[in-house]
Amino acid sequence: MADPSLKTKWSRHSAWADILTASPSDAARPCGVNVVAREGLGVAGIQAQRGRKAALSALVKMRYGLELPTTPRAVRDAAHAFVWAGPGQWLLVAEQKESFAELSELAAVSDQSDGRAALRLSGPNVRDMLAKGCMIDLHPAAFPSGAAAMTSIAHIGVHLWRVDEQPYDRPAIFDILVARSMAASFWSWASASAAEYN
């Protein structure tokens, strides 16, 4: 389903506008940390209604072909990810903005597409960089592919999950969401923390 607001002439302001101005890296050298802003995502908060968790799982399975995770994990395919967001709660992250109305039968759905600013972080030093603020263990043994967590970094709440399928000793790729209003502060921390690797 296409975003109904796409016909507007109003322009949508990226959460990273005026913030992610230039790449912090020196193009000539390989980067320790790569940062990509994820734009245009559709994000929805989903909470099962009382007694409807199983039905919701079934609906998600049917409609998206994905299994709703019941532990802190992200279950994804190319177009969608269902990320655990607390007991009975998920974030649905769609590569493109779309309607989530279908799920409203069984769940409280709240659009969060504009409320979250998303980054994809990768590179050989991505864990070193995240360790400068992230209070959870991102070692592959503790945070394998598909693991997800809500936590805070540098006093900013984040939702992050591992999206790569890399073997144990390969650098990982993380998707990370922060509140839109704090994107600039998050970047101030992230760019300072990555600086020594770029």
Binding site: P4, S5, L6, T8, W10, R12, H13, G115, R180, S185
Partner: protein, 996 residues
């Protein structure tokens, strides 16, 4: 043996890199050293012995140790904004261009006027200040205290903004190994071989611990080979992190360890993007404390004379740094270990002038060794006086038979046994226990997950260090669920003797005998403390300041309490030891703050229209974490009041727009959503139709007002609640508590959508006209279709979903229009473009505040956590038909006392006078004292509509006193204004403007 510029540098010996000469300055004098030196070793190499002055008596002091326990050798390192006072020369790594200055002396290190204190020393006994300086009382602040302060302190802080940056970091492991000496290295190796995730930290820049300082063999080869091999193997494991220059400074609950990594302290200035230091929070399942041991001095007269040094430190200077701390050395030892120093000094070519062994029985082998030095051995003897002022010259020795002799020398090495470094084992309040066999305290109960290995466990031989490490490393790996392979046989070590019969103090000393060097605590001070009743070790510490200096008594505590034990006739075990506290070694405040300083102290929250406001020249104000537009000055307006008046009048006269995105917005859905609202708000919700909003007030459980805001019914079981900006997070948490804990059976789902929606207030008589121009045509917003308090989904800009609410804070016809935050900027611009014909004016928080005060709406000033709904004139809202949070407690006698201050309006009687929030109300003609205090002004504004200042306030029986005059008394701003009490509604009493 001399090197032209470093006369005390030994040829060939040591680990410094002779191919990397470095230059540095001490007190302005250019000196040189090598890479691998510490400032201390380089100073000694250059023949510098006087390094600093003591705290109280300003006595000349030299180096006592070679490690972090150093009490004397403190300097100001670096210059300008990078100056670091009290830096221990013994751990400061030498770098090219280093500058250090001696401290706590005036005018110079060699000639210090305050050394005159030493003359008064007889009066300046422990705690003398408690007994005097009481008369006249006012002289304390004016005279005595400033003098004491100037004399006290040690180094001078830069007190300029620190130019360097810091980082924090978090690390996780199975096993944390604290200390990279033989015990720690073998522990890490055993754990690593078992596949554990290991972090090995060492304070030093080189791994090896005491092995770097000793001439030892492992498996028949120099220990350095074992060291190199072990380090190489450790570094080959991907899951072992070896952290040099990293001190574990504290042990916290549940396996959390604080560590400080000195990333760039060994260079002139950090590289760009490099932090100076990094503070780590390490989370470990298991920890092995392999922190080694600290040597203890003996207390005797003149023991602080520069040139008196600990024997182990002397070996460090000789063997590791290739420096001879003197040319003619006497050895004073209470055990076998002092003899190692004699042997190593002799091997390095230093002349041994005498060995004084306090034990009567000295092993014949050692006697033979002494003969080899060509030096006399005094067994059962002691050194009871050392003298020479700024540098040791002479010793007074009392022999076993009581005869006294003097001896010339420039170095005295003191060996009195070692204390295990167990500070970290005690950080959680576990008391160490006395081990009489080694005459030292060892760790007792341990923090969960910690074990102690090697010297730190009081097992002082190299063999034991290697054995303990290998065993505890393997056990810790097993505890983490890892299988360990058959361990390799422990490496063989050369023989060593570690017997010792410690001497805490030498009786009948000549001259002052220091226990705590840095704080100038002598054995006499301890005697005085005992005499005056300060006999518990904690009293002793606090009364004499023993162990309270920058070294925290690492070398001195034991001697102090041994003397107290002797004076009170108790054992040391009964006497006990003072509490060890973090940090193990002092930690820079900047490191623990990390990134969070200046603008990064706390995150900033920016509204979706921030950029737009900025372009309009808004002046921003901090409001919680948000940065909000306060007002929008235009050219020519040079005070804020002019701007705010213009904005206010523009709204009341036409239309204004204001970002209100910062309000908390909570989406509430579910079959029982209405029930939730009924239980958390004081007023009634059951009759709220779909498509309508209502104002609500919430109480805390104690009956005081918590928050207010509107909630809108978007569907049968779907509501949107707004909260004040300040309470957004708190209310969400409150609702989660209600739903998860108080009423878990309710079928309600809540989600914060505060970030999702940008929201603009559009207020003023022309607001509907303006809206008409931005809202898509198909939506009817006529007053019939969209009356006051309507709430509905609409669309704007040709299909952008939006929510429209007809609510008003300003008292004007007003709307709030919400769009997804990505369109917030576009919305603001569209409103401005469409509003040009109506003279649309952006307004900020100030104008909003003026208008709400004109309408008597309560906000932060009134919702201060001390007011009840009744105080705020909202008692009528409290439903009597239902239960809600806070209902019962709001009925307590004190909350319904008729005399409580109640909300009212206030106008200056002389309309030209200004009002101020915070003024207290006094009856006219009443004196300014507490008995006449009737309440206070909560908020004020200049009303451009009325042409004078107005205020809201809480005053006793306010509602009954309309028309009465009182004083608004504000002495802290020299204010005393006569005001009239009026209705807290200054404008449009009938509400005609609100409805159009």
């Amino acid at each position: 043996m001399a090197n032209a510029t470093q006369p005390f540098r030994l040829p060939q010996i040591g680990l410094v890199d002779r191919n990397a000469p470095l230059t540095f300055r001490f007190d302005g004098q250019a000196l040189s050293g090598f890479r691998g030196d510490t400032l201390a070793s380089a100073l000694l190499a250059n023949g510098a012995r006087l390094i600093g002055r003591s705290f109280k008596y300003h006595r000349p002091r030299g180096l006592l140790t070679a490690g972090p326990e150093e009490p004397n050798g403190l300097v100001e390192l670096r210059t300008g904004a990078r100056r670091e006072p009290n830096t221990r020369a013994t751990v400061a790594e030498l770098y090219d261009g280093l500058e250090a200055t001696s401290q706590n002396r005036w005018p110079s290190l060699g000639f210090d006027l305050l050394s005159i204190n030493a003359l008064f020393a007889p009066a300046l006994m422990a705690g003398f200040y408690y007994k005097t300086f009481m008369w006249p009382a006012s002289f304390w602040e004016r005279l005595y205290e400033p003098a004491i302060r100037r004399a006290a302190g040690l180094g001078r802080a830069a007190n300029a903004e620190d130019p360097d940056t810091y980082e924090k970091a978090f690390a996780f492991c199975d096993i944390l190994v604290i200390g990279g000496g033989p015990a720690g290295l073998s522990a890490a190796l055993a754990a690593g071989r078992a596949g554990a995730r290991v972090i090995l930290c060492d304070d030093d820049f080189a791994l090896g611990g005491r092995l770097l300082s000793e001439r030892r063999e492992i498996d028949g080869l120099p220990a350095s080979q074992w060291l190199a091999r072990t380090i190489a193997e450790l570094e080959s494991f991907p899951d072992i992190r070896v952290m040099r220059r990293t001190t574990i400074f504290g042990v916290y609950d549940h396996g959390v360890y604080g560590a400080l990594e000195r990333v760039a302290d060994h260079v002139m200035a950090p590289a760009p993007h490099q932090p100076r230091q990094r503070a780590w929070r390490i989370v470990a399942k298991r920890a092995i404390l392999a922190a080694g041991a600290i040597e203890r001095p003996t207390v005797f007269g003149g023991n602080d004379t520069p040139g008196v040094m600990l024997a182990g430190a002397v070996r460090t200077y000789v063997n590791r740094f290739g420096v001879a701390p003197g040319r003619e050395a006497a050895i004073f030892t209470a055990g076998d270990d002092g003899w190692n120093t004699a042997r190593d000094l002799a091997a390095a070519g230093v002349k041994i002038v005498a060995v004084v062994d306090s034990r009567e029985q000295v092993d014949p082998n050692l006697r033979t060794l002494c003969e080899g030095f060509g030096a006399p051995l005094y067994a059962g003897a002691s050194v009871f006086g050392a003298s020479g002022g700024k540098s040791l010259r002479r010793l007074a020795i009392r022999e076993a038979n009581g005869s006294v002799r003097t001896l010339a020398c420039d170095l005295l090495t003191v060996s009195n046994g070692w204390n295990p470094t167990i500070h970290l084992a005690s950080h959680q309040g576990h008391r160490p226990v006395w081990n009489a066999a080694i005459h030292a305290f060892v760790a007792g109960d341990l923090p969960d997950g910690m074990r102690v290995a090697g010297s730190a466990a009081g097992r002082f031989s190299l063999r034991e260090a290697l054995l303990d490490g290998a065993q505890l490393g393997a056990e810790a790996a097993q505890d983490c669920g890892l299988a360990t392979k058959q361990s390799a046989p422990a490496p063989a070590t050369d023989p060593e003797a570690v017997a010792v019969a410690p001497v805490s103090r030498v009786a009948g000393s000549r001259g002052k005998a220091f226990v705590d060097y840095q704080n100038d605590v002598t054995d006499r001070d301890i005697e005085l403390a005992a005499q005056e009743g300060f006999r518990s070790v904690e009293h002793l510490k606090r009364y004499t300041t023993l162990g309270m200096a920058t070294d925290q008594g690492k070398t001195s505590n034991l001697a102090g309490l041994a003397i107290m034990a002797e004076l009170t006739g108790k054992t040391i075990a009964e006497t006990g030891v003072t509490m060890f506290r973090p940090p193990y070694a002092p930690v820079a405040i900047g490191a623990l703050a990390g990134h969070h300083r200046g603008q990064d102290f706390r995150p900033v929250r920016l509204a979706p229209t921030h950029q737009w406001s900025k372009e309009l020249g808004a002046v921003f104000v901090e409001s919680g974490l948000w940065r909000r537009a306060q007002y929008y000055p235009q050219p020519g307006e040079n005070d804020w009041l002019t701007t705010v008046n213009r904005e206010t009048l523009a709204v009341r006269g036409g239309v204004g727009v204001c970002d209100v995105s910062t309000l908390g917005k909570i989406d509430i859905q579910g079959a029982d959503a209405l029930t939730l609202l009924e239980r958390v708000y004081i007023n009634n919700w059951s009759n709220l139709p779909i498509g309508k909003a209502r104002y609500g007030v919430m109480l805390r459980e104690d009956g005081f007002v918590m928050d207010d805001g509107t909630a809108s019914r978007l569907g049968e079981t779907h509501f949107l609640m707004t909260t004040t900006t300040a309470n957004a997070v708190k209310i969400m948490q409150h609702l989660e508590f209600c739903l998860q804990v108080l009423w878990p059976t309710l079928d309600v789902q809540i989600a914060s959508v505060s970030e999702q929606w940008a929201q603009m207030a559009i207020a003023g008589p022309r607001s509907r006209d303006l809206l008409r121009a931005v809202i898509d045509e198909e939506h009817d917003i006529s007053d019939d279709a969209f009356p006051y308090l309507a709430a509905r989904m609409v669309s704007v800009g040709g299909g952008v979903e939006a929510r429209l609410f007809r609510v008003s804070f300003s008292g004007e016809r007003a709307y709030e229009l919400a769009v997804p935050a990505g369109y917030g900027d576009a919305l603001a611009r569209a409103l401005m473009a469409a509003g040009r014909p109506f003279g649309v004016t952006p307004y900020g928080l100030e104008a909003m505040g003026v208008m709400r005060i004109e309408k008597g709406h309560v906000a932060g000033g009134e919702l201060n956590g001390q007011t009840t709904a009744r105080d705020l004139g909202l008692a009528r809202m409290m439903s009597g038909r239902k239960d809600f949070i806070g209902r019962v407690m709001a009925g307590r006698p004190a909350l319904v006392e008729p005399d409580r201050p109640i909300l009212a309006g206030f106008k200056p009687v002389d309309r030209a006078q200004r009002l101020r929030a915070g003024a207290h109300f006094l009856g006219l003609g009443r004196s300014a004292d507490l008995d006449n205090d009737e309440g206070y002004m909560t908020s004020v504004a200049y009303s451009p509509n009325l042409g004078h200042w107005i205020g809201l306030g809480l005053i006793k029986r306010g509602a009954e006193r309309i028309g009465e005059r009182v004083r608004a008394y504000d002495p802290v701003r020299n204010g005393d204004v006569e005001v009239e009490i009026c209705n807290a509604l200054f404008l449009d009493v009938e509400g005609a403007r609100l409805r159009g």
